[in-house]
Amino acid sequence: MAEIIVITSGKGGVGKTTTSAAIGSGLAIRGHKTVIIDFDVGLRNLDLIMGCERRVVYDFVNVLNQEANLNQALIKDKRNSNLYILPASQTRDKDALTQEGVQAVLNELSESFEYIICDSPAGIEKGAQMALYYADQAIVVTNPEVSSVRDSDRILGILQSKSLRAETGAEPVKEHLLLTRYNPSRVEQGEMLSVEDVVEILAIPLVGVIPESEAVLKASNQGEPVIFDESADAGQAYSDTVARLLGEEVDFRFLEAGKKGFLKRLLGAK
């Protein structure tokens, strides 16, 4: 049985797809056979972030409607043979998703994969609810600002009430907090919520803190998940996150300003 992990946030633009790509790739790099499903039907992005947009023939909705089989729709990553992508449809909308259809696809994927990463659309409506419904674990992606934190709180409430595990009274969905776009120097200046603030408000375990980084935008535009960039702080932070997700104990890095930037500042870089 595969472990189903939903990457969700409520709010848009906080880094769900970047995180899905990075975590999925990270699990594959560590030898786990992983598939990332784009649930954002109508606003397909994952293929771009993964750099496979030219290879999309069939998509998730085609599979749901039995117009194609899974093997036709799955795209194998060129960098890592453990990694597959199931792209969303760009021409349809969220109504194309049905509970039975999603369940059938997840069941079939469960037979051959260890991890299924569900990249949730923003919002709390049907698309987001479908993405989280069958989840065993949830990574709640949050930016250190008040509106993102409140939306994350809202999605945690939905995980607790509208997931399959909640409805059947099974063990609750395991929740992880992932803080992205974290800028320690702005935290010190009081412009941004600190890790401690966010953890206190949301009251769920922290799985990672990804620093705000130019490497993320560059990685997105090049279609290369940032975790493959081993020199980038964001890439290293995602690697740490994957290790924690797999149960390893790793110290948190990039939480303080200045430490890493010392040499850079000496050289006059920003």
Partner: protein, 236 residues
């Protein structure tokens, strides 16, 4: 012998009393609307007893008054302290007239026969108020209601969440959302919380907003109770 079909029980039911001072359709409608808009969920389908004890005018269109109340989803269930002049009109509506003594059925002056009073007291003593216990955080957008008893939360109440109880509310964590105790009118209900950061706290319809909370009590353990129609927020 046939099984018993029913049993008569003495019981005390909490309702709103609508104490009417004067009546004109426009003013009454407007004021009722304002009152209800403060807390629409409290009043939805609430039973209400209309008291004319302090009504000073001689003119009153009973049917219209009931229509306005029902329009706002209140459920008028009886009249009390009615002047003889209105009795006939009220009888036509089918709603009962409560005598003054009937509404004070638990008081010592009650003229109810002794055995019945004993039953009522026994019933009250044995009436068990169930508490609702919540162990996980109440998240933004969630609403938890403890009907007929206390609400105990062993975690936090997030901003944008709402917790309600007919009785008291105990929160062993941060209260960042809204807490409404005694929503069916129990003025003795209280709200207790470990860390006060609330958006709104209410007891029996009297509420206080975060802006009006004493800044020195922010993030402190407090209790909130009603005394002389005023909410008091004090450290515990």
């Amino acid at each position: 012998m046939a099984d018993t079909s029913f049993q008569l029980k003495g019981s005390v039911v909490t309702t709103f009393i609508l104490e009417l001072y004067q009546y004109s359709r426009e003013d009454f409608t407007q004021q009722l609307k304002d009152k209800i808009s403060q807390a629409p969920d409290f009043f939805l389908q609430s039973p209400v007893v209309i008291s004319l004890e302090k009504f000073e005018n001689n003119e009153l269109d009973i049917v219209q008054l009931l229509d306005v109340c029902r329009e706002f989803k209140l459920q008028p269930m009886a009249f009390k302290a009615v002047n003889a002049k209105f009795e006939a009109a009220i009888k036509l509506t089918g709603l009962p007239l409560l005598s003054d003594t009937a509404t004070r059925s638990v008081s010592k002056e009650s003229v109810a026969p002794a055995p019945q009073q004993v039953i009522a007291e026994v019933e009250q003593a044995s009436e068990y108020r169930r508490s609702k216990v919540i162990t996980r955080p109440v998240r933004s957008g969630q609403q938890v209601y403890a009907e007929g008893g206390d609400l105990i939360i062993l975690s936090q109440v997030s901003e944008g969440a709402e917790v309600l109880a007919d009785g008291n509310i105990h929160i062993y964590g941060s209260l960042r959302g809204r807490a409404l105790a005694g929503i069916k009118g129990d003025t003795s209900a209280r709200v207790f919380c470990q860390k006060l950061e609330a958006e709104l706290i209410s007891v029996a319809g009297h509420f206080i907003l975060s802006d009006s909370l004493d800044k020195t009590l922010q993030r402190q353990a407090v209790q909130v109770y009603l005394d002389e129609q005023t909410l008091h927020v004090v450290a515990v």
